[in-house]
């Protein structure tokens, strides 16, 4: 039949991969220079966590387990910041610990910045327990008493001399635990903190890991999941509406990168459609 048409279909099917790279590069760069607003659909598993923190009273304690390294920072830092800001703004106290060997730096970065913003004092408004290897044993021991694995906090002060720790013995004294993790630590939190000690637990994980943990949500072992950049953007959206973080202060990191996510996803899908249209049309022509 018509040669020009079948040439077009061939072109659609056999684009050089460099054209794909170029389009992705251009689209990402343009979106980074001139971002726009993308509506975010908030899922119930994220809203649950936000609402739980909302329902806490000033002075109550939330525990955050930070178990990720610099590689996962891009995905997990935003949710960590949003939750920490929400807590400090509401006067909720934070207990932090770390079961990933490269995690201590991550906790420090977040807590140093946010505690300054809200004028919060170490030992009074938050306590950072530090890092310990062997996550299973550490969590089991914390379920007995935080002082077993962590006789001192990260900065070397004995837990007994920290005012905030006065009435805090173990998981029974924290309202809930949120584990933000890029690896296997999450399973230990679920199996031991929730499984053994029945602690109320929610998790924030990388996009790739998200689907692995839905069964635990169904079975009620965890009460919420924040999944990757999208989950973080949902949380930031809620926190912004709640007035805890603000666009002006550049505190919506995940939300801001959502336009890049959206445009790249659209481009990828369009390329797939292009290839398939070419494929089917050329089959028809033949």
């Amino acid at each position: 039949m018509d040669n020009g048409k079948s040439n077009l279909y061939d072109w659609m099917m056999n684009l050089d991969r460099r054209w794909v790279y170029l389009v992705i590069g251009v689209v990402v760069t343009l979106t980074a220079i001139a971002p726009f607003k993308v509506p975010v659909y908030v899922t119930p598993e994220v809203r649950n966590i936000y609402n739980f923190v909302e329902s806490m009273e000033p002075g109550e304690v939330l525990m955050i387990g930070v178990d990720y390294a610099p590689e996962a920072m891009a995905e997990l830092h935003p949710m960590n910041y949003a939750i920490t800001r929400q807590c400090f703004a509401k006067g909720i106290k934070l207990l932090l610990c770390c079961l990933h060997q490269n995690g201590p730096g991550m906790v420090e970065q977040v807590i140093a910045q946010v505690s300054k913003e809200y004028d919060k004092v170490n030992g009074v408004d938050y306590v950072y327990l530090g890092y310990k290897p062997y996550p299973a044993i550490t969590i089991l021991a914390m379920g007995q008493n935080f002082r077993i694995p962590f006789p001192e906090d990260y900065y070397g002060t004995s837990l007994d001399s920290l005012p905030m720790m006065r009435n805090i013995v173990n998981f029974d004294n924290v309202q809930a635990i949120i584990n933000i993790s890029a690896g296997s630590a999450t399973e230990y939190w679920i199996n031991y903190a929730n499984g053994r000690y029945n602690a109320k637990l929610a998790i924030g994980v990388t996009g790739v890991m998200t689907s692995d943990y839905y069964p635990f949500l169904q079975s009620g072992q965890i009460f919420g999941i924040i999944g990757g950049m999208k989950g973080a953007a949902e949380y930031e959206d809620l926190a912004e509406k709640g007035g805890y973080i603000s666009r002006k202060k550049d505190q919506l990191t995940a939300f801001k990168s959502m336009p890049i996510q959206t445009t790249t996803h659209i481009v990828v899908i369009l390329f797939i459609v292009l290839g398939n249209v070419g494929y089917f049309m050329s089959k028809k022509v033949k």
């Binding site: 044993i137 089991l140 021991a141 007995q144 077993i148 694995p149 053994r196």
Partner: protein, 267 residues
Amino acid sequence: MMSSFFLYSSSWFDFNRINVFIILGAFFIFVIYFIREAKAGKSLFVRRIAGLDAIEEAVGRATEMGKPILYISGIEDMDNLQTVASMIILGNVAEMVARYEVPLLVPICRPFVVPVAEEAVKQGYSKAGRPDAYNKNNVRYISDEQFAYTAGVNGIMLRDRPAANFMFGSFFAESLIMAETGFSTGAIQVAGTANIHQLPFFVVACDYTIIGEELFATSAYLSKEPKLLGSLKGSDLAKFLIMVSLIIGALLETFGITKFTSWFSVQ
């Protein structure tokens, strides 16, 4: 030791783990039984694993073209069983390659894998009657660091232009970088891993993909010793029992009987 506060007992057996013990014991018995059967000369039927044809075809094409063959064994160390399986496959690929005058390039990510890979290749070559064809410089350590290793492998793909790329072992994010670079050089690619997060990328970018357990099965099959196939039979019997207990467990749960399922819970 902090853990001594509460975790230990004076018992010599952890009864919380009795289910693991029993299941493991049964599995050991299956495997050893079938290996004995095979040794005694009983022929065991095992279906042909499609991945094997793919490997042979790829070797054939590379040798026809007179171009090198690249073998990548993942980025984990010898204590990972996928790496061990990969080394077994490597030995057999070396044997296939040895008959022809094409180099077999084996870039390696972990120092400990280097001696094993050297031995595997050497042994493969001498099995094929060509110990002289073995070149020590073709098995080389690149870097322990994931992306430095990936960059190094990319370099080999682009500069030595292998006609066949094999990727067997434990892979992470580098899987797609390697597979795409390999695709762009026009190499025929066969990959296999038991890391589920990376399989989508191998499935998409390679000509043939060996999925999960098939990796271990391929290594058993390639060893060509019938007794090693016994392990496949043993694991099949275990699989059959798992399927049966899955149905029983689900039915009992439906009628509210949880004793059976709770026996399987592990701590």
